[in-house]
Amino acid sequence: MQFLNPWGLLALLSLPALVVLYLLRQRHTEHVVSSIFLWRRTEAVLQASTPWQRLRKNLLMLLQLFMLLMLSLAVARPALGSAKLADEIIVILDGSASMRAADIGGGTRFDAALKEAGRLADGLRAGQRMSVIYAGPKLKVVTARSSDSRRIKDGLSALLCGYAGADIEKAVMLARGMAPENGSVSIVLYSDRRYEDTGGVSVVTLGEDGSHNAAVVNMSAGETEKGLLLMSTVASCGAERELMLELYCDGRLFDARSLVCPAGKNVNVYWDGIPVQTRTARVRIAGKDALANDDEGFFIFSKKRSDRILLASGQSLFIERAISAAGGGEIVKAKRDEAERLRGYDLYIYDGFVPGSLPEDGSVWLINPDRDVEGLKLGKSIKGAALTGEDTPSAMQLTNHMNVKSVALARFSEALSLTGWEVAIRCGKLPAVLTRESDGRRMVALLFDLHQSNLPLLKEFPILVQNMLEYAMPESVSGDGRYTAGEPVALRALPYSTRLEVTSPDGLVSRLAPPFPPAVYIPEGAPGVHTVTQLVEKPGGSESVTGAFTVSMPAGESALPRKGGSLAGGRGDGESAPGMFELWPYLAALALLAAVLEWWVYCRGR
């Protein structure tokens, strides 16, 4: 046992002070009576009949002394547990979003964890060393094997709780790896997860089991005759609560509803009649709960493509239908001779021929090219076979969600050389689909006639067209633009993009490019709408293109209390009593009990 506030022991001086007060209080009020003859008889009766009456005076003092002793000790904050720790202490701090729950004396669980770890650092004995591992989306060793409590506390004070999950199991593995071969080690985990099998790790469980938390865990949208339809899913843990939900469309309050959310269940709330021009929606749970950061859900209504596509083909029915189904944008069909001179499109599709000069203001698809083009030298038409996909990034993008092997070619053009081109799909061992990227312009070449393959008849065809559209005319944000905190966001640079930046909800700007390709963005800030801004400098002029994606907390972080997995399988000399166990609440309770008892004895004696 140790005292976290040794100066508090000075309060013990109040004990002799009380005794002195009692001694001073011995002065009696003097009364002259006619005789003490009868009083002597009474005194004898008193002594004979109620011996506790004489004791009562002492009993009051003893109770007061006990009360003061308990209070003094409580001020000194005695704590149990530190002495049980080994010479090597490894502290793991759970930095997951649920640790932001503010249900420990007005502070967050993470604050309490920092405080406890700080106390542990303060209580280091001579020869004890302490390491600190921060378990967020990524593991971080804050302090390694230090006996300097100030240094440890400086490291702790620089830590911030994240908005993502935490891989505690990996952190425990790292801690076990950091443990010296010889000697005992105590691994202390400060987390809000309830572990059934701690595997020798001393788990300091933070947070209250009965904390109430409501969260917007999912958002999705559709379109109806009345306009846009938004569905928000609200989850609640703790007791059943009545919640007030507010919907903000592009920052303006659009609707508000109250609902009763049963404990531990999800409730879907539908919002209809949202104007079609709405760009972003935000659903907010009014009122306070344990975890505030999951009280909002965001949704970005994606706009249909407005790209202009030039389709130059005489037999382009399959491609036209597939592009239309993918919502690819405005398709302009042109004949071969017209296509030679038409410019100003985002995508040029040449089916069965290659124009004299390729356009430079957009991406290009070459389907069954009839001549050599930009480093691609074609040979004779050869017999085809089943296709196989490559594992390059561009190839994987093109073949995403496709069963490539189900596609077979009857015949295709042999590529003799392909300088500057990258093979995405092969037919046998020969290239069948090529990609090329130069100066921000992307090109896809299919070295076969669609009619010479079973591709248009397969479900893979619209998928391939969709993938080719995304490759040729990439959006800043791929997919549905919804991410969770800590999840890597792969942003794509538009053709001719010279700069790509992401602005987080709290205004922090991260520049991801140049250099290209853009770096992977990992949202670590507060949940909300992140804005992607690209500066596109086309030959005809420059423009700023913006996109957005939403980041929310992982849904599992909202469920309080959280269940942890097993930490078994490694070293750790900790017992079931984790960290420090402060005794002051119990001492204070004893002092209160003594005060009540003293009052009762005093009243009974009056």
Partner: protein
């Protein structure tokens, strides 16, 4: 300065009262009380045969004519009663609210007045560490007035040693009167021995056990030091309702104990309070005890 204890109004209130005694008076002087001896009153008492030496003038000649024997006709005699009023004048009698000493002196004066009016001989003796007669035994109103003056100026002090003081008193004769003891009996001295000593001297005894209201029901509480007024030390006590209740019970027990002792010996016992009016005390408690009657 105390107001006067005795005034005309005080004695006017006693005009209809008389002091009654249970036994015949055995005094040496003739007085107003019926005596066991035969005397010269007109009230016939008995006959007896003549013996030589008798005054033949008392021979009943009518009886001689009938029986031819000499018989003497006897008549009752009236003697003087000696009323001794023993008043405790220890320091404790000067305490209480109202003071017990005031009541004691007024009661002594009233009894002396009633006695003088009944032609009794009166002695007022103060008892503390020793016994002292205020004045020599007296009769008559003039002497009573002087005795009352002496009562007015009686001082209280010293310890209460009732038995020792009484033993030192030489004015006590056997079987000649009534002894009234007015005391709070708050003393280590053996009151039983004192009363037995009076009975041994063939005295009729009336004990007035005088306590003040604050002695019966004290009101002080808390941690107190009770100092004995007669200098017999002190007691430090923590007084609360429970302790006070026990004290009051001790007082009642003490009074009952004294009353029981007196009852067993034919002693009149009357518990008095210093807050009581003397005339009311005489009319109620003393009358109930048969000590005082009305004409």
């Amino acid at each position: 300065m105390d107001e006067r204890l005795f005034d005309e109004g005080f004695f006017a209130g006693l005009s209809g009262l008389s002091l009654k005694v249970r036994w015949p008076a055995g005094g040496a002087y003739s007085g107003g009380r019926r005596s066991r001896a035969h005397g010269s009153t007109v009230e016939f008492s008995d006959f007896r045969e003549y013996v030589p030496g008798d005054d033949f003038r008392r021979v009943d000649w009518n009886a001689y004519a009938r029986f031819e024997k000499f018989y003497l006709k006897l008549f009752l005699d009236e003697r003087q009663l000696h009323v001794r009023i023993f008043m405790d004048t220890s320091k404790s009698m000067d305490c209480g609210e109202p003071k017990k000493g005031v009541f004691a002196r007024r009661l002594a004066g009233a009894l002396a007045f009633l006695s003088v009016r009944a032609l009794d001989r009166v002695s007022v003796i103060t008892l503390s560490e020793s016994a002292r007669e205020l004045r020599p035994p007296f009769t008559g109103k003039a002497a009573l007035a002087r005795a009352l003056d002496a009562l007015e100026s009686v001082g209280f002090g010293g310890e209460s040693r009732l038995y020792e003081a009484l033993k030192g008193y030489r004015g006590l004769s056997r079987g000649d009167g009534l002894c009234v003891v007015i005391s709070d009996l708050l003393t280590d001295s053996d009151y039983r021995a004192m009363l037995d000593y009076l009975l041994y001297n063939k005295q009729q005894v009336l004990l007035v056990h005088l306590l003040s209201p604050d002695e019966r029901r004290p009101s002080m509480t808390g941690r107190v030091r009770l100092v004995d007024s007669e200098g017999r030390g002190y007691r430090d006590l923590e007084l609360d309702a429970r302790a006070l209740a026990m004290y009051e019970k001790a007082v009642r027990d003490y009074e009952a104990e004294v009353a029981s002792f007196c009852s067993a010996r034919g002693i009149h016992y009357i518990a008095a309070g210093s807050e009581e009016d003397v005339r009311a005390f005489l009319l109620t408690k003393c009358a109930a005890a048969g000590i005082v009657g009305t004409f």
